[in-house]
Symmetry: C2
Subunit: 220 residues, 2 copies
DNA sequence: GCGACTTTGTTCCTGCGTTCACAAGCGGTT
DNA sequence: AACCGCTTGTGAACGCAGGAACAAAGTCGC
C-alpha cells in the first residue's frame, strides 16, 4: 500500500497533463488505440522528451517499442487529476464572462460542477444559465455550506473582488480562481490563482512588437 | 541615440510590468506621488527584490532613499509596453466569451482597439457589442487588410479554430490569442498564445487536493 | 529461437527565473 | 558641513523547468 511516486507533481506538468488528457480523449473518440510519445507531443504542441518526463510522474504506463495505449493512459491521467470525482464550484459575478464560464460545457466533463451562481444585480437574479439559477449574493455562505463547495470563481468587477474573496474564504472555500484585474489577498490555506486576460493580450502584443525591431543596435 | 538596454525583456517580466502598471494607475488616481518597492510589491503580490529587478530592465527610474515617482514610473512602463500606440485587433467567435472580451473596457485603456468582430451564426450578425457591429466571417480578410490589424483573438468552438487561425495568418495577422481548447499550428512569424480556462481550473483543483493529502507516507 | 528495430524511461546538462544579500546613493537632520 | 537612516540597483547562489542523449525493454520478422 505504499506509494513510491514522489507524490509531488510540478505545476507545469499538471497543466500539460490536462492538455494531454484532452488530446487523448479526442484520439479515443477517433477510434485510435495506441499513440507514440512523438505523435502525442506533436498534437499537444510540446517536446516529446518533455512529454515522456511528464508521464513518468504517473509511473510506467507505456509499452516500449509500441507506445501508449490511448484508453489506459487517458484513464490514468483522469485518475491523477481527479476528474472522476465531481467538484462543487460556485461562481460569483454573472456578467458576460461569468455567463460564458457557467455555460461552458467543457467543465462538466472535467469533473467540475457549478452548484451556485451569484450576482448583485437584481435584474440578473432568477436567470437560468447552464442549468442553474442566478441567486443573490446574500445566499453565498449558505450555498457554500450546504454544497461543501471547495472552489470559487470570481468574475466580478475589480472593486468588489476582494470582499467576495474574503467571504468565500470565510465560508470555507479552499481554492479561488480570480478573473478580476486585482491582486487578491487571502488567508493561509486558501489558494488564489489569477487569470488576467488583458495581461495575456499585453504580453502577446509586446513580443510581437519586439520581434519587429530586433536589429536596432546589432553589433554589425 | 544608442540603446544601452539589453532590449530583451523576459516574458515573465513583461507580464508583471502590466500588473505594476495597473497598480500604479490606481495609486496615481488616489493622489499618491511616490511608492517604495516594498509597498508596490505587496500590492502586486510579488517579491520586492524581483520587482526591482523587473524595473531594472527599464533603466534606473527610482530615487534611492525615497522610492519611485508614481506618475513617472507609470509613464515609463506605458512607453515600454507600447500602451500609447493603439493596436488594431480582430475578434472571431462572438459567443459568451467573445462578447465579454469585446465589451471589456479595460482593453481600450491599454492600447487595444477591436476593429472587427466576426461570427458564423447569421443570428449574431448585425448585433452591436462594445461599439462594434458583428460581421460575417467572409469579411475577415477584407477587414484585416483595411485596418492592418496585427492581433487576432479566437473565441470560436474548437472545431473551427484551426481554420480561423490559418485565415488570420494568411491575412497578415502576426499575433494570435487562442481561447479555444485546441493546440493551434501557425506558420513561422506568427506567434500563438493559448489561454485555456479549464486547464486553469484543473490546476487549481489539483494543487488544492494535493494539499489535503500531504502526509500519506510521511517518514514519521 | 534469435537478431534488429522501435519506443519508452531516465539521466545529464544547460539555461532561465527567482531569491537572498550587499554596496551605492540620496535626503533629512543636527 | 557631516552623519545617519532609508531605499534602490546589482551581483551571486539556489532551485527548477526544458532539451538532448543514452540505456533498458519489448515486439516484429526471419
Amino acid at each position: 500500500m505504499i506509494q513510491p511516486r514522489p507524490r509531488t507533481i510540478p505545476e507545469a506538468t499538471v497543466a500539460r497533463l490536462a492538455v494531454y488528457l484532452r488530446v487523448l480523449s479526442a484520439l479515443a473518440d477517433g477510434g485510435r488505440s495506441t499513440v507514440s510519445s512523438g505523435e502525442l507531443a506533436a498534437a499537444a504542441g510540446v517536446n516529446p522528451a518533455g512529454l515522456r518526463k511528464d508521464l513518468s510522474h504517473l509511473g510506467p504506463c507505456g509499452v516500449r517499442g509500441v507506445g501508449y495505449e490511448v484508453a489506459t493512459l487517458r484513464d490514468r491521467i483522469s485518475a491523477v487529476l481527479g476528474v472522476e470525482r465531481s467538484r462543487a464550484c460556485v461562481l460569483v459575478g454573472i456578467g458576460n464572462l461569468g455567463s460564458a464560464l457557467a455555460d461552458y460545457a467543457g467543465f462538466g466533463s472535467r469533473g467540475f460542477e457549478f452548484v451556485g451562481l451569484f450576482d448583485a444585480a437584481p435584474a440578473r437574479i432568477g436567470q437560468r444559465i447552464g442549468g442553474q439559477t442566478v441567486r443573490p449574493i446574500d445566499e453565498l455562505e449558505e450555498v457554500v455550506a450546504a454544497t461543501d463547495a471547495s472552489i470559487g470563481v470570481i468574475t466580478t468587477p475589480a472593486e468588489v473582488a476582494q470582499s467576495i474573496c474574503d467571504r468565500l474564504a470565510a465560508a470555507g472555500v479552499r481554492s479561488i480562481l480570480n478573473f478580476a484585474p486585482v491582486t487578491l489577498a487571502a488567508p493561509d490555506g486558501v489558494d488564489v490563482r489569477k487569470v488576467d486576460l488583458s495581461v495575456e493580450l499585453q504580453v502577446l502584443a509586446f513580443v510581437g512588437q519586439q520581434r519587429l525591431v530586433p536589429a536596432v543596435g546589432e553589433p554589425a
